[in-house]
Symmetry: C2
């Protein structure tokens, strides 16, 4: 089974449980708003990782199902809040909550999903000590997510170091992946060393995934990614490719030209194409791809502690897929 097939299987398995925890309570508008994103699907990579980790450590995948739902609720809670902050109008083919309902309901729907996630964790059928450790990973992840989103906002249209950028995506993307994986391993009954290895796997994978996402944003086929190649350049997103370019462009005039296009919301397609070609000449796009691959290789190496299993195969395949996709 390749990564996509496993993801689809896990997503299907999740369809029932994800509808199980939010009952028909009052007020109905808040309940409906809370359900919209999680019920609508999405890639569901994080819950798939929780289930896989439980199996890969030799445990029962289903022991991690409540955690999988909780992690997906948390991911969706951040999407609901972020969509409002970013002014996004569409998500998963539907109008975003703050527009379909209103801003207070969007904030409360996010808060409610967040609370429900911890309620679900409190009821997990695992030893109390494992539940406590799962709670530690997940609550730390949500704290970090808030920090990451604030750093992301603060970084906008600013040139930050590669170190700051990596820290931002670590907080925004990796920590929740890692909480899903470590929590799944704990639900599967893994020992501390194995939990740690799986945590490190997912942390590195999250970085590789996001760096490759940025790579696709500049080098991918817009017809497939659905993103205009110039988007990140106009937004001035300070990816590892951009910081590499700034460090490596030799000609001061070219550097000045590059910086003048970067973050210019009104840059023409010709200008963004020029910026991209400057980055290409500086080896920055290849650098981005290489760094993503390094992170993925690091992720896979952490799994050597695990015996062979279908779930381990998926975790490896998922890591490879992270840097071998067109969308």
């Amino acid at each position: 089974m390749d990564a996509k097939e496993y993801l689809m299987k896990a997503s299907k398995e999740l369809d029932g449980p994800i509808r199980q925890y939010i009952g028909d309570e009052e007020p109905s508008d808040l309940i409906a708003a809370s359900r919209q994103y999680p019920y609508a699907g999405g890639k569901r990579m994080r819950p798939a990782m929780a289930l896989a980790a439980a199996g890969a450590v030799g445990g029962d995948r289903m022991k991690a199902m409540p955690l999988a739902v909780a992690i997906e609720y948390i991911h969706n809670f951040t999407l609901v809040h972020d969509d409002f902050m970013d002014g996004d109008e569409q998500r998963r083919g539907m109008t975003t909550i703050h527009i379909a309902y209103n801003v207070p309901t969007a904030i409360l729907a996010g808060d409610a999903l967040f609370a429900k996630a911890f309620q679900i964790i409190s009821g997990m059928d695992v030893p109390d000590s494992s539940m406590r450790n799962i709670l530690k990973y997940v609550s730390q992840a949500v704290w970090d997510l808030a920090r990451g989103q604030q750093m992301d906002i603060n970084n906008e249209r600013k040139i930050v170091s590669e170190e700051v950028y990596i820290e931002t995506i670590r907080l925004k993307t990796s920590v929740l992946f890692a909480a899903a994986a470590a929590g799944g391993a704990l639900a599967g009954g893994a020992d501390e060393r194995t939990v740690q290895a799986v945590h490190e796997y997912a942390m590195a994978l999250g970085l590789g995934f996001q760096i490759f996402d940025d790579y696709l944003g500049i080098a991918g086929d817009p017809a497939k990614t659905g993103k205009s190649v110039g988007n990140d350049i106009r937004k001035g997103k300070c990816t590892v490719m951009v910081t590499h370019a700034i460090r490596n462009i030799k000609d001061p005039k070219v550097l000045e030209e590059f910086k003048s296009i970067l973050g210019n919301a009104d840059a023409t397609d010709d200008q963004t194409a020029r910026a991209r070609s400057i980055m290409e000449d500086a080896g920055s796009i290849a650098y981005g791809r290489r760094l993503a691959k390094e992170k993925v290789d690091e992720a896979i190496s952490k799994l050597s502690i695990l015996p062979h299993s279908e779930e381990k195969d998926f975790m490896i395949a998922l890591a490879k897929y992270a840097i071998d996709r067109e969308v």
Copy 2:
């Protein structure tokens, strides 16, 4: 020691611990925004109740200190989000977060406080099984808080039944009081029956507290409460006194007059005074006070299960204070 003295003592005890859990991390703006409300003080009734409950069941009050901080963080998280939703500009003598910083930072500061609360609970020095039960109470409370706030918004300028109003204040006020008390009792090592009794005490007390708050809003001295007597009438707040009046005004013309003033944002002081006098004639203001007292008596009766202690005395005194205050 009377209720006020105990509250002040508990608030002082909390000053150190409340500063202990949010370290100097990045980004500094989010950290500063998260700290603003909890560091600024407030009545701190919820954490005081957590500490008192732990002592009243014969346990070590200090075992409940992390929970006390977590509950206060959760209370403050809801204040940060509510202040934005309600457009409030001042809180505890300072500019509210969404204005002092900006809206995204306010939402994230709330989310961060929320996450930190659960992180703190995960580290509590209590048996794992107690920690799990504390988590159940607290996560349920936050789910209910979101529902209560949404119901409150939905009720605005609408005439709802007393039942709906009571359910709204139960969710908005009582559940977090009750989680603080039950969680404190669990941290103090109480058995299930005692935890349940303390939970019921705080649930009833929360209702009595809020109903008396509404009573003060209409019958209190504006110079002391800081609230104009006409405020709740202009907002059309559907308190138990308002629904009582609607049920009990005999003359259809007077009822029509009352309804025309209720919820009229531009009502003159003479008009709101007239509405108040109609409520007085219908026995509605006395009814509000009576209902608050009933809830408080119910709360106190639940404590009969506890042996005598200074903490039990405080819990009784707090209940009495809830309906014997001018502000």
